[in-house]
Every structure is written in structure tokens, then in C-alpha cells.
């Protein structure tokens, strides 16, 4: 018996010792840890690609940026039964935490910024065989960081600047709009210095010098620094870069998946329908295997019965095209390419709505709700929409740059200089559009008056760039709420502005959770 006792005790003692602490070392077999990353050139490329991946999120360019820019402005509106969505486009913000309309944008912009910060902070420590490649990677990350801060500044203005990789407990300080724009200027300037002027065909979609300079110009314009803005755009319009850019003969080539990355594209987000994986919120979810790298805009902007129809154009733009005919007496072709509207088939015989006739489908009989967006829709090659539209999205087109340049030139002079008019004419006289030069058109009088010219630009920009996420930026620059006449006109164009409160509605409410949980952050004024 004693032997047995001893034996048992031995077993137990042996077991106690055999439980060596190494048993607790359990390695994660699923994925590498961050400790082994950021060592090689390949790591740098992978990290950078992950920043580009941030485009494919509901809070960024798969969906919400279109709502916030195109529907908040006087170009679009929403009759969505999702009242949170509809009311956000009407300056009615009953819930600052509304995930779909607000929080998601904030969250996914900072997510993209974290990725850019990781590249900027870590890649400088990696040894490259080709130093210019390293510079290019860091410059792309800086461009993308500037890009996201630019849109955060447009939407929220007073956002915290996070410029280093975050720690979980960080509570970053709030910055002013000027500080955020200044950071954008720094990022775009540094990016422009190191980015190449053109990309190899396999690298199309990556940031270029022209993209950085175009955004730099945009930032300066928002700050009212016309000279600096003009200087930034100069390279694209008059300088060495000018030969890389031009306007496509056919307007709609800018909104098709078959004519992407063309000479008119300054910066273009690349979409593909290769992964039709419906997952997450509205089928939009990133960082999952085979995630959707298409765009959901066409589904949400789609005409009734084809898409959700959460976004529609304001009628005034359509009416604006009717005011002038082109050089051959026809209607402005951009009307055809931008909208589905009741007279589409009479104005442009032979046109179909996703292969159908307007009368057959009865898409609504009253004039308020019977105009729909066609721009960036897929009706030119198929009869349906989904969340995987493959059409690349051009955030800046050369036409936009030309019109911006015209605006800068006009602002810098007492009367519009010839080059400004010439820039406008280049857009008006795109081969297929073929309008008369401004000075020979019914708007000839604007060519000699700075104010009239600038006012005309406001219309020209919409006719060319409607629903291209630029109008809200433009309105924030022009501030029609400061001028009683312009304000009255704006209310006619878009009655939603009746809810606009000056000093408050220029910017979104910061998600309340973020304000509540960050002692260094205060809510935007008026909210």
C-alpha cells in the first residue's frame, strides 16, 4: 500500500513539474502578427495596397460619399423611405450617431487614415534597393491621407488630426478647419514632389503628381488662396503636365467601365465587379476575403424598380440644359447622359431606359419624383443594377481642373482673362457636346464681367460635373447663404435649404458618441 501511495505521489509531483510553463506558449497559426511586419519592400507595398482598399467601404467611396456630397447639395435630394437617409439630405439631423449616414463616414475615414499613417511611419525604416520606389510609396500614402482629411474637412471641418499610428486609448485633440487644410496642403505638396507624372498600365489607379496638385489646388481654393490654387493647377493646365491630360470626345466615356483611366481622368477610384460578395451592411464590407471591390452607388441611385432610388436630381439642372442649344441646334448631349427624365425619349429619339420605354414602366407620373440619375448607371450595357458596379469613379476630372483654373484666374483679375474663358470653352466645346464658345453664346455678356463670369461658372460646373461629388464643396466655397439674392435662388432650386441654418448646417454634426467619448472634442457649433 505504501508503495502505491509513493507511486501516486510521484505521479502527481511529476505531473506538477511536467506542466512546464512552455505549455502556455500557444502560437497563432492563422495570421502573422504585426511584430513581424514592416520589414521588407513587399511589406511596404502590401501596407500601401491596404490603404487603397479603404475606398471599398460604405463610409467612403462605395456609398456614403455620394449621399453626403451629391444629395446635400442643391443638385440632388432623397425621397428615401429610410427617413434617416432622407432627412440627412435635408439638413435635419435628429440622430448625430446615425450609423449609416454619419458615424460610418467618420469611422471609415479614420480607418483609412490609420492605414496611411502606418505606411508613412513604418516604410521610412525599410531599406529599399530603389530609393525612388520607397519615396513613391510614402508619397502615395501621404496623398491618400491628404485625400481623406480633405473630405473630412469638407464634411465636418473641426476634426482631430491623427498623424501617427494610433494606440487604443488615444483621445486626439480637435483641430480647426484651417489646421486641417494646412495639413492637407503639406501632404499634397510632399506627395506631389515624389509622385510620378504617369503610371505604367499595370499601376493605373495609383496616385500621380497631377492628382496631388489638383487636390492641392482644390484645398487652396477652399481657403480662398486663389494665387496658390492657380499655381498648383498650373502644372496641369499650362505646365509640363498639360500634355498628359485632355478631354474625351464623348462625355459619357467618363462614366463607363469600358473607357476608364483615360486622358481626362486626374484621380480615379478603381472599381471592379470581380467579387460579387454580398456581406455586411448593405452588402458592403471590407477586410473580408474576396470582398466587394465594386461600387454600390448605381444600386442606390438607380431608378425605381431597378435600384433603391434613394437619390434623385433636382429638376432645375435639367431645365438649365434646355436654355441653350449646341452649335448644330441640338440639345446639350450631357442632358441625355446625366438623367432619366420624362422627355428623354422625345428629346433624344432612340434612347431607352434599361432597354425599356418610359411609358411602359410608368416610373412615376408627377414631376417632383420623376427625374432620375443616369450618370454612373450601368444601363448602357445591362438591364439591372446591383451593389457591384464596375465603373471607376473619377473624383477629379480634367474638365473640373479646367473650370477650377478658370475660377482662380477670374478671382485673380478684375475682368475674366482670355485663358479663363478659354478653359470654360474647352469644356463647352468638347467634341460631342459642341456648344458655342461662351463669347458667342447667349451668355456672351459674362465674359466681360467678373461677377457674372463667376456666377456663370457656377452653372457651367453643374452642367458638366453634376453628381460628381464636387457641388457641395463648391457651395461651401461660394457660400450662397451669405448673399440674399443667391440664397433666394438657392431656395427655389432646392427647398431642402429651408432647413439650412447658417453657422451650423455648413458642416455635419460630429458623431455624438465620438464627442461624448473624447474629452478633447467638442460638438460642431449649433448642434
Amino acid at each position: 500500500m505504501k508503495k502505491l501511495l509513493k507511486l501516486t505521489l510521484l505521479i502527481i509531483v511529476g505531473f506538477l513539474y511536467s506542466c512546464s510553463k512552455d505549455l502556455l506558449d500557444v502560437a497563432n497559426p492563422n495570421t502573422p502578427t504585426s511584430q513581424v511586419f514592416w520589414k521588407t519592400e513587399n511589406d511596404a507595398t502590401l501596407g500601401l495596397n491596404a490603404v487603397y482598399h479603404a475606398f471599398y467601404a460604405g463610409g467612403t467611396w462605395q456609398l456614403n460619399m455620394f449621399f453626403r456630397n451629391d444629395l446635400t447639395s442643391d443638385e440632388g435630394w432623397s425621397n428615401s423611405p429610410a427617413l434617416d437617409l432622407a432627412e440627412y439630405t435635408r439638413f435635419i439631423y435628429s440622430d448625430y450617431n446615425d450609423y449609416n449616414e454619419n458615424t460610418q463616414i467618420w469611422k471609415y475615414h479614420y480607418k483609412a487614415i490609420l492605414r496611411a499613417n502606418l505606411v508613412i511611419a513604418n516604410v521610412s525604416n525599410i531599406t529599399f534597393t530603389d530609393e525612388s520606389k520607397k519615396k513613391d510609396i510614402i508619397a502615395q500614402a501621404k496623398f491618400l491621407r491628404g485625400f481623406y482629411y480633405f473630405y473630412l474637412a469638407i464634411l465636418y471641418e473641426n476634426v482631430p488630426l491623427v498623424l501617427n499610428p494610433s494606440n487604443a486609448g488615444d483621445a486626439p485633440k480637435q483641430n480647426t478647419l484651417t489646421e486641417v487644410f494646412t495639413q492637407c496642403i503639406e501632404d499634397f505638396t510632399e506627395a506631389a514632389a515624389d509622385l510620378p507624372t504617369t503610371r505604367a498600365s499595370t499601376d493605373l489607379g495609383r496616385a500621380t503628381k497631377g492628382a496631388a496638385l489638383a487636390y492641392l489646388g482644390k484645398v487652396y481654393m477652399q481657403m480662398g488662396n486663389w494665387q496658390a490654387a492657380k499655381d498648383a493647377f498650373y502644372w496641369l493646365v499650362e505646365g509640363d503636365g498639360a500634355t498628359n491630360y485632355g478631354l474625351m470626345d464623348n462625355y459619357r466615356d467618363n462614366f463607363k467601365h469600358t473607357t476608364e483611366n483615360n486622358k481626362e481622368s486626374v484621380f480615379e477610384i478603381q472599381f471592379s465587379d470581380v467579387n460579387q460578395i454580398f456581406a455586411g451592411l448593405y452588402g458592403i464590407s471590407n477586410d473580408i476575403p474576396s470582398s466587394n471591390v465594386g461600387c454600390a452607388r448605381a444600386q442606390y441611385f438607380g431608378i425605381k424598380g431597378i435600384g433603391w432610388c434613394d437619390a434623385q436630381p433636382r429638376r432645375w439642372i435639367i431645365d438649365e440644359y434646355y436654355k441653350e442649344t449646341n452649335a448644330t441646334g441640338g440639345l446639350d448631349i450631357r442632358l441625355r447622359d446625366n438623367f432619366f427624365y420624362p422627355n428623354l425619349q422625345t428629346d433624344f429619339p432612340g434612347e431607352k431606359i434599361y432597354g425599356q420605354d418610359w411609358s411602359v414602366l410608368n416610373w412615376g407620373s408627377n414631376t417632383v419624383t420623376s427625374n432620375y440619375w443616369r450618370k454612373y448607371q450601368n444601363d448602357y450595357w445591362r438591364t439591372y443594377e446591383n451593389n457591384y458596379s464596375p465603373i471607376n469613379y473619377r473624383t477629379i476630372r480634367y474638365a473640373d481642373v479646367l473650370l477650377c483654373y478658370a475660377e482662380c484666374l477670374a478671382q485673380l483679375n478684375t475682368t475674366p482673362p482670355a485663358l479663363a474663358i478659354q478653359c470654360v470653352n474647352r469644356v463647352r466645346q468638347r467634341k460631342e457636346v459642341n456648344l458655342l464658345p461662351l463669347e458667342s453664346s447667349i451668355y456672351a455678356n459674362v465674359c466681360t464681367d467678373k461677377t457674372l463670369f463667376l456666377n456663370r461658372l457656377k452653372v457651367e460646373r453643374s452642367l458638366e460635373l453634376c453628381a460628381e461629388t464636387v457641388r457641395w464643396i463648391d457651395l461651401k466655397r461660394w457660400k450662397p447663404w451669405n448673399d440674399p439674392t443667391e440664397w433666394a435662388a438657392l431656395l427655389v432650386r432646392d427647398p431642402d435649404f429651408n432647413n439650412f441654418v447658417k453657422g451650423k448646417s455648413e458642416r455635419l454634426p460630429i458623431p455624438q458618441l465620438e464627442v461624448d467619448n473624447n474629452p478633447n472634442l467638442t460638438q460642431n457649433p449649433g448642434y
Binding site: 490603404v51 476634426v159 493605373l204
Partner: protein, 1019 residues
């Protein structure tokens, strides 16, 4: 081909016919073997008297391990026929000590029964050992199988509501659902569910456990009781001991239960009433100039769908159990089989389950070797998304089926006639069936070696293996207005989770004079391993309407993913229970745990506890005749928690980001950090103090027990939401942030008495619990959700809403509703709109006007349970009440908002210029002013008191025809038949949305009213 894929319709006949036939067959075989059984037999008679010499009537006299038995008559006499000469006779009577007397050939046996000191000799399982209830110094609730015999049949946890103090149970009526169980409040943010230990194997509660197998449940509530489970006992421990065979011939126990379940629902407005409501809502919107609303809906003719009738039905749940057990001095066995089938209470639900258990034990010399093994196979088809939400999201003017809508043929909203964006709840279920199959093997093998009389070594090896197979099919078809058409697809995931456990313990029990020692030391090693594979793809092969759904039939977009999880937990444990002269009790426990879930420096921690007890009533100076027992208890101890992910202390790289580049639009892979981590996370610890008293008075007929406790959880592991501006995604990182306190009082009073043939008992359980947050991490002082706020020094999840202040009756009232600076607060309002309080006085109503306006926590909870037996009748009744809490009624947010087309309530009354007394605002389509979510309009008092269970049983064995049975009981049980409450939602007994939104009734699935018919046969 069309008929190949037929989804099983739930129904009693279809599902059970086969299984019933099998049981019936088995039953006949077993019966005949019983009747044929003949032995060397004789007759025995005698008289039973009490200690004072008076005769005792109603004593059960039975042959141990056999089927014969009787009860004593009024004179205390009994006669037993057909008794084997070597039999042992068992005399038992409630309130008296059971006696077992070997017959040894005698034919006359008179005995004297002694009154038992009720319960004190009862053995309580306390983890790695047992103790007498009299020696217990910790807070332990014991629930015996008898208390569960009438209980709901799917989940053990549901039965615990109201049966034990300090155990907070909330139920859901959804098919296969688990209740939420919190022991002594919320002590942790990461996980609130207690640790389950089934026959010594730590596991989680699941719906696959056969309640018939339960011998007893012990709930270890305080630190002293639970400390032996150290790091995992932070939320309390529920120990389940399963039945074992007892000596004697084979005992057969067959039970059958059939339940009918009906949900409590709130009637929806049907066509005409609904149209009236929404026409009014549209008219008001047009008059107000709401953007985009220009004309009433053109309601389609003739459609009047009763969605509640379409979606919900009376559920039928069948449960059959057969247990065979027996044994002799050399060992025992128990085999049980259980089949359960639940049709569910809503379209698209079904569940069935098979359990098979074998428990055996054998003794040879100093060795005792045994095993407990259960295999469970569960199939379940749950609803997609929230059933209640979906059923109330749709409207009566949409037809269930509409052949013009292709593919699919389901009715859904149309822009100008039925502008509802609800998904067709029938279509959603039919087109997107998802099923889950689970096979679980849970068991252990143990060897006890009695090294010395007082020293026992035990080796316990446990295994839990879980195989899951989830399959979700998406058939092409539309169920919602403007929905994009998705290709058909299938997603299938398979996972395997295996937990192995190895435990060595050495137990010493010794008595030296008045000193009594029970000590244990041991080690445990637990390894958790799981692996999962998910494959998915689109455009399945389809012939006619039939989809081929195996993965081979994917034609596009095939994707595969897989992952592995591993964790190791190593523990050293020790416990010393010491008592002196049955007066002074001491218990010391120490557990040291090491977990692979923490970084090297933080792997190990110690969890000690000490507890003392004083049996005052055993002191010589104690002379209070009517007090039979009095014990004071106190203890102090530390528990832990490491309920976090496998590798949460180190940040990993996400390898999934891809981006499109190039003229060929190819994709390139990316890699980056998505989720941030706190690498210094460590054990969460809970320090608990408990003071208790146990008292037995009036010949032990009344037993009272009271506990007061304070528990403080420090370094609470929290996936505390961090700022979005950090860029974090993929879940919030764990941090040892918060600190929480729970204080509570628990009182139990039990009265038991036998008056002749009438035996009865009554138990009252009272629990009062207060929690507060002592600290958050990251320097935070508050945490918000849409409807709640949690602040330091206050309870979790207080309601935080915009206050409604009635209805504007006149334009003057609107104009004069101003803030302190004279700004009209709601300038856009019209008479009939809701009036809100501008709490921050900024002249507008926004989410910043929210104030604390409700408490989701009950002030106290009460369980009152009654049991009575008279001759062959028995009656039991459990009632349960929860008092003082508020609840947010999300269902009314759907039915009463009238701003977006959804179902409305039948008989809904609203403000009109001629009906100004209504508390409901005027309907207004397309505008949120009267339907905002974060307002007090949806907040209600939610106290309730319910008759959770009432059972009437009758034992037929007294009838001559059934005299060969040991027992043949038929019973009928009602559950949730009566709920007294002012809460207007579906059911005040709901599982809250999260710990931060405990009182948010987020379209919770209500508990059905149930009638259960049972038959139980033993022989």
C-alpha cells in the same frame, strides 16, 4: 423534380410517428420481461411507529432496487407481497430519516422512524468533492431533480428562474433559445454567463442537454464556494450532476411530454383600419409639405393579409425519454435516450434533438472506475433575423404571394400603392433557409484509488467534442421593394471544437476526535482547440425550381476560409475544509491559474478564498428550544475571468484587403493592422465578501437562509468602444478597464409539513441586487448608447432619452413653447405633434436633450413556489416576479410611428382636432418628428409577476390495473398562463439587448403560453 425539395412542415404526426413506434416496441419488450420475472419470494409485514410510539401513516415501504412497494395505513401497518428473501426494505417519509433494513429472511419487520434534521445531512456537490449541507460555509443553491420534473424541456437554464436566489434569469421564446442567466449581477463586461460543470467537465450551457438526466443542480454563488474553479468562476458556477444507477434490478423509466405553445401577440390593424391610419398620415404630410409626398397611396384592391396568422402558429413540442438503470454492489449503470421535436411557433422554424447517455461505475478493490458520456445530436432551423420585427415591419395591403413578382413570386411593396420596405417574412424564410446541425460528445472517465482509508487519488479525464455544420441557402427571389436581384448562393461552414481535460486530485478525509478534516490538492490541464472552414459560392445548379445545394454546385464566386483557435489553461488547486466539534467551520481555497490568452508576463494569477462558519445551535450555552439549527457564515475570496479571444494581446495582420489597379483592372493584395490591441491585458479579478445565516425552526419545518454580499470586479476585461478616430475596426480591443460593484441581499424561506396524507411545502425566494460602475477605462466617465447612459457611480445602462411632454393642442401652445432665451423650440410643429423637453435649453430638440429617465434594473425579484401532495394527487406552482424596472418597447416604435409604412396596432387611437385627449400624436408620413426613436414615448414600467408554471399530477399506480408499475403518473402543466404587468409590449420577461441596454426590448421573441401533457411510467 419539383417535389424533391420539400421543406418539412412542423407537425406532431409527421415527425413523431416513427420514433413513437420505436418507443412503443421497446416498451412492450420491457414489460413482458418484467412480468416473467420470478424469484425466491415471501410476504413481509410490520408496523411503523414514531419516536414517541405513535403509529405513522403514509410511510413508503419499498423493496430496494425492485418494483414492489406500498405505504403504511392509518395504524402504521403495512404488508409487502412477493419480496425476495434477501431483499433490503426501504422506509421513507418526508421529514424523517430514510431507513434501509436488510430482510435476511425475516417475515416481520417493525421499525421506529426518527425525525430528520431536514436537509442538513444532505450532500452538496461543491466542485472536486462534496460536503454536508450542515458544513457549508459558502453560498450554494441546490435544486433537485424533483423540482425540475415539470420544467420546460429544452434548456435547463429556463427552469432555474425563481428557484434560487441571486440567479437572474430572462427567457426568450425563440426556438432552441438559451435563457440569459446572471448570478449575483453583472460582474464582467466580456461574458456574463456562469461556468457550467457537468459531471466534473467544465463546459457551456447548450440547448442540447437532456433535463431528464439531471440528478441535481448546485449553484455556487460566492467566492468561497466557487473559488475552486478560480479563474473561470467569476460569474458563478452551475454544477450539474447527472443520475446514476442504484443497486437492484433494472429500473425502467419512460416519460412522454407533449406541449402546445402559443405566443402572446399584439393584434395588428387589418386592411380597412390600416388604410385609414396611413391615409391620415399621408394627408397630414401633404398638408405639411413634407418633401416628396404629394398624394395618398393607391391601395391595391382586395388584399387584406393577416401577417400574424401567416407567420405564427401554435407550436407543438414533443419530448420522449427512456431511462434504464440498475446495479449491484460491484457497480451501477444508467442508460438514457431522449428524443425531442419542436415545431416552433413561427414559419420557418423547426428543431429536433436526440440524446443518448451512458453513465457507469464499477468498483474493484481500491479502485473505482466510472464514466459519464452523452452524445447529443441537434438540428435546428432558426428564423433569419428578428422574427417579431419582420412580422410587424410589413403591411396588410401586401399579399403573401404575388405571381407577377419574379423570381420568387412573393408579395412586396410597390412605390405608389404599398410603399413599405419591409421584407416579406414568409418569402425571407422560404428563400433563405439556414440550418444548423450540431453533434456534441461530452464525457469523462475517472478512476478513484483509495490509497488509504482516508486518502483517495482521482484521475479525471474529460472530453468535449462539438461538430457544427451551418448551411445558409439563398434562392433567387425578391421579397422587398427595389431590392437588387442577387444570384442564388450557398454558404456552408463546418467547425470542430475539442476540449480535453486532465485532472489529478488527491483527497484526504480524516477525523481526530472533534477535529474533522477534508482536504484536496490537485492539478488540471485544459486544452481548447477549434478549427473551422467556411465555403461559399454563387449561382447554384438549378433544375426547374429545385436547387442543388452542395458545394459542388457552385458555378461562380467560390470562396473558402478557415481558421484555428487554441488555448491552454493550467491550474493548481487546493482546499482545506476543517470543522471542530460541528461548531466551528473553516474553509481555505487556493487556485493558481495560467492562461495562454495573455502575454507571457501576465499569464499567471492566484485566486484565494477563506470562509468561516459557526454552528451556534451546537454550543452548550445555546438553549432555544424552538430553534433546531443556527449557523452563521462569512467569507472573502477572489475569483477571476479570462473570457477573451485566443490571441487578443497581440495585434495581427489582416490579409484580406485587396485593391483594383491597372488597365486590366486586376486586384492586388494588401495587408495591414485592422484591429488595435492592448498587449498588457491581464486577469480580471472579482473580490467578493459574503455574510450568511442559516436557521431551522419549529421542528425544522421552517428553514430560513439569508445572505448579504458585496462583490467588486477590478480590471474588468472590456472590449470598451474606443474612439473611431483611432482608425480601429473589427471589434474593440480588450482592456482591463472598468471596475464594477454588485451588492445584494438574498433571502429564502422554506416551509415543509406533512399532515397525514397531505404533504406540502412552500418556498419564497427574495433577491435584491444593486450594481454600479466604479470606473471605466481610458479616463472615461460615461458610456453612451442610443437609448442609455452608463456613468461612474451609477448602475449600468440607465435609460437616457428625450422626454416627451405630451401633445401640442394648439398653435398658441407651440408658439409659447420656448426656451429660456425665448426661442420657439419646435417651430415646425403643428397641433397634434409631440412636445419634447429642451433639456439643454438650446432652443432645439436633438439627441443632446436626452436625460436619465428610467432604470432597467428591478428593485427586487421574488419567487414563490408551492408543492402539495395528497394521496395520489400532486400540485406544484412556481410564480416569479420582478419589480421596479423600466423597459423600452421597441415594438411600439414600429407600430405607432406611422412615418414609414409598417404594421399598426389594432384599435390605435391618435390625436385629431376632434379627438384631443389621445396620448398618441397625429400620424405624419415621411417625417421623424413624432416617431423619433430616442424618446420616452417608448419607455414603460415593466414590473411583472407571473405564474411561470403550474402542474397537477395524478399517480395511477394505486389503480389495480397498474399495480405492477412502481409509478405511473400523468400530469398537465401550464407555463406562463398568467402574467400580471402594466408593460404593453409582448412580454416583460425578455432578454435585454446587451449589458449596456439591459432594458431594451429589441423586438425580443416572447415566451409562449404553454400547456404540457406528461405521462411518466416507472417499473
Amino acid at each position: 423534380m419539383k417535389s424533391v425539395y420539400v421543406r418539412k412542415k412542423p407537425g406532431i404526426l409527421r415527425m413523431s410517428y416513427l420514433s413513437f413506434k420505436r418507443f412503443a416496441f421497446l416498451f412492450v419488450i420491457l414489460m413482458s420481461s418484467l412480468i416473467l420475472n420470478a424469484q425466491n419470494i415471501q410476504q413481509v409485514d410490520g408496523k411503523v411507529t414514531g419516536a414517541n410510539g405513535s403509529s405513522v401513516a403514509g410511510v413508503t415501504v419499498a423493496v430496494k432496487g425492485a418494483t414492489t412497494g406500498t405505504i403504511t395505513d392509518d395504524a402504521g401497518n403495512y404488508t409487502l407481497k412477493n419480496v425476495p428473501k434477501d431483499a433490503t426494505i426501504v422506509f421513507s417519509f418526508l421529514g424523517m430519516t430514510t431507513q434501509e433494513i436488510p430482510l435476511n429472511g425475516k417475515s416481520k419487520l417493525d421499525i421506529v422512524m426518527a425525525e430528520a434534521n431536514i436537509g442538513l445531512e444532505e450532500v452538496v456537490v461543491i466542485g472536486y468533492g462534496t460536503t454536508k449541507k450542515a458544513d457549508l460555509t459558502g453560498a450554494v443553491s441546490v435544486i433537485k431533480s424533483d423540482e425540475l420534473k415539470n420544467a420546460p424541456v429544452i434548456s435547463v437554464g429556463k427552469a432555474l428562474q425563481g428557484l434560487a436566489t441571486g440567479v437572474f434569469v430572462r427567457n426568450s421564446g425563440a426556438i432552441g433559445s438559451e435563457p440569459s442567466i446572471e448570478i449575483r449581477g453583472i460582474g464582467s463586461f466580456s461574458l456574463q454567463t456562469p461556468l457550467y460543470v457537468i459531471d466534473g467537465v467544465p463546459t457551456t450551457a447548450t440547448r442540447d442537454f437532456n433535463a431528464y438526466d439531471i440528478e441535481s443542480i448546485q449553484i455556487l454563488k460566492d467566492a468561497s464556494a466557487a473559488a475552486i474553479y478560480g479563474s473561470r468562476a467569476g460569474n458563478g458556477v452551475i454544477i450539474i450532476t447527472t443520475k446514476k444507477g442504484s443497486s437492484g434490478a433494472m429500473k425502467i423509466d419512460f416519460s412522454s411530454k407533449v406541449s402546445l405553445q402559443k405566443l402572446p401577440l399584439i393584434a395588428q390593424a387589418r386592411r380597412d383600419e390600416w388604410i385609414k391610419l396611413y391615409d391620415a398620415a399621408y394627408d397630414n404630410a401633404i398638408a405639411d409639405g413634407i418633401s416628396g409626398v404629394t398624394q395618398r397611396q393607391q391601395h391595391p384592391a382586395g388584399i387584406d393579409t393577416d401577417w400574424l396568422k401567416e407567420v405564427f402558429h401554435t407550436g407543438v413540442l414533443q419530448d420522449y425519454n427512456l431511462t434504464l438503470s440498475g446495479g449491484n454492489t460491484g457497480g451501477n449503470y444508467l442508460v438514457s435516450m431522449n428524443y425531442l421535436d419542436d415545431s416552433g411557433t413561427a414559419h420557418g422554424q423547426s428543431m429536433n434533438r436526440i440524446n443518448f447517455r451512458v453513465n457507469t461505475e464499477g468498483i474493484k478493490g481500491i479502485f473505482k472506475i466510472g464514466e459519464n458520456l452523452v452524445v447529443s445530436n441537434t438540428f435546428i432551423n432558426e428564423n433569419n433575423g428578428a422574427t417579431i420585427y419582420n412580422a410587424y415591419r410589413t403591411i396588410p395591403t401586401i399579399a403573401v404571394r404575388d405571381s407577377t413578382h419574379q423570381p420568387g413570386g412573393y408579395g412586396y411593396g410597390q412605390e405608389t400603392s404599398t410603399r413599405s420596405f419591409g421584407g416579406n417574412p414568409i418569402g425571407e424564410e422560404d428563400l433563405h433557409p439556414s440550418t444548423n446541425k450540431n453533434m456534441r460528445i461530452l464525457g469523462n472517465v475517472y478512476t478513484d484509488v483509495k490509497i488509504l482509508k482516508s486518502l483517495t487519488y482521482r484521475l479525471n479525464a474529460g472530453l468535449e467534442a462539438n461538430t457544427n455544420n451551418y448551411k445558409a441557402l439563398v434562392k433567387s427571389g425578391l421579397t422587398q421593394l427595389n431590392q437588387p436581384s442577387e444570384a442564388s448562393s450557398v454558404t456552408e461552414s463546418k467547425s470542430n471544437a475539442i476540449t480535453t481535460l486532465l485532472e489529478n486530485t488527491l483527497n484526504y478525509k480524516g477525523t481526530f476526535g472533534k477535529h474533522n478534516i477534508d482536504a484536496i490538492i490537485g492539478t488540471t490541464y485544459q486544452y481548447d482547440y477549434n478549427e473551422s472552414i467556411t465555403a461559399a459560392g454563387k449561382n447554384l445548379v438549378k433544375i426547374g425550381d429545385y436547387y442543388f445545394t452542395t458545394l459542388n454546385n457552385i458555378t461562380t464566386n467560390a470562396t473558402v476560409q478557415g481558421s484555428i483557435g487554441k488555448a491552454v489553461l493550467i491550474s493548481y488547486l487546493g482546499r482545506l475544509n476543517y470543522s471542530y466539534d460541528n461548531r466551528y467551520l473553516l474553509s481555505l481555497t487556493l487556485r493558481r491559474d495560467g492562461s495562454s490568452r495573455f502575454a507571457k508576463a501576465n499569464e499567471w494569477d492566484n485566486f484565494p478564498s477563506i470562509s468561516v462558519g459557526w454552528r451556534l445551535s451546537n454550543e452548550k450555552f445555546f438553549h432555544v428550544g424552538w430553534i433546531n439549527d443556527l449557523k452563521l457564515r462569512a467569507n472573502y475570496g477572489t475569483l477571476g475571468n479570462a473570457n477573451i479571444g485566443y490571441w487578443d494581446f497581440v495585434s495581427t495582420l489582416n490579409t484580406f484587403p485587396i485593391a483594383v489597379f491597372g488597365s486590366d483592372q486586376h486586384t492586388e493584395t494588401g495587408m495591414t493592422v485592422v484591429k488595435l490591441v492592448n498587449s498588457d491585458i491581464h486577469w480580471e479579478t472579482k473580490i467578493q465578501k459574503n455574510f450568511g445565516v442559516d436557521l431551522a425552526v419549529l421542528k425544522s419545518r421552517l428553514q430560513l437562509s439569508g445572505d448579504y454580499f458585496i462583490s467588486t470586479t477590478k480590471d474588468v476585461l472590456t472590449a470598451l468602444p474606443i474612439l473611431y478616430s483611432t482608425g480601429n475596426d473589427g471589434g474593440n480591443p480588450y482592456v482591463n478597464a472598468a471596475s464594477l460593484e454588485n451588492r445584494g441581499i438574498e433571502l429564502t424561506a422554506t416551509w415543509k409539513e406533512n399532515v397525514g396524507d397531505f404533504k406540502y411545502s412552500a418556498t419564497v425566494n427574495y433577491t435584491r441586487l444593486r450594481n454600479k460602475v466604479l470606473d471605466f477605462g481610458y479616463g472615461k466617465t460615461t458610456y453612451y448608447t442610443t437609448t442609455t447612459i452608463t456613468e461612474i457611480g451609477k448602475p449600468l445602462g440607465m435609460f437616457y432619452l428625450v422626454q416627451e411632454a405630451g401633445i401640442f393642442q394648439t398653435q398658441d401652445e407651440i408658439n409659447s413653447w420656448k426656451n429660456s432665451k425665448g426661442v420657439v423650440i419646435q417651430p415646425n410643429a403643428k397641433p397634434g405633434d409631440e412636445k419634447y423637453i429642451d433639456a439643454n435649453d438650446d432652443g432645439q430638440i436633438t439627441s443632446t436633450d436626452r436625460v436619465i429617465c428610467g432604470n432597467p434594473w428591478p428593485k427586487f425579484e421574488l419567487g414563490v413556489n408551492l408543492n402539495a401532495e395528497y394521496k395520489n394527487f400532486d400540485l406544484s406552482m412556481n410564480t416569479y416576479g420582478s419589480f421596479g424596472q423600466d423597459a423600452f418597447n421597441s415594438l411600439f416604435y414600429i407600430t405607432d410611428q406611422l412615418m414609414d409604412e409598417m404594421a399598426a396596432r389594432k384599435g390605435y387611437d391618435y390625436w385629431t382636432p376632434t379627438n384631443t385627449s389621445s396620448a398618441n400624436p397625429r400620424p405624419l408620413y415621411g417625417d421623424t418628428r413624432n416617431g423619433r426613436y430616442d424618446q420616452t414615448r417608448w419607455l414603460e414600467k415593466a414590473s411583472f409577476y407571473k405564474l411561470s408554471q403550474i402542474t397537477l399530477g395524478y399517480n395511477l399506480k394505486s389503480l389495480k390495473f397498474f399495480s405492477n408499475f412502481d409509478g405511473l403518473r400523468v400530469s398537465v402543466t401550464g407555463q406562463n398562463l398568467l402574467v400580471l404587468t402594466k408593460y404593453k409590449g409582448l412580454d416583460p420577461d425578455f432578454i435585454g439587448s446587451s449589458i449596456w441596454e439591459k432594458g431594451l426590448d429589441n423586438y425580443a421573441y416572447p415566451n409562449p403560453k404553454t400547456i404540457i401533457f406528461s405521462v411518466n411510467v416507472t417499473f
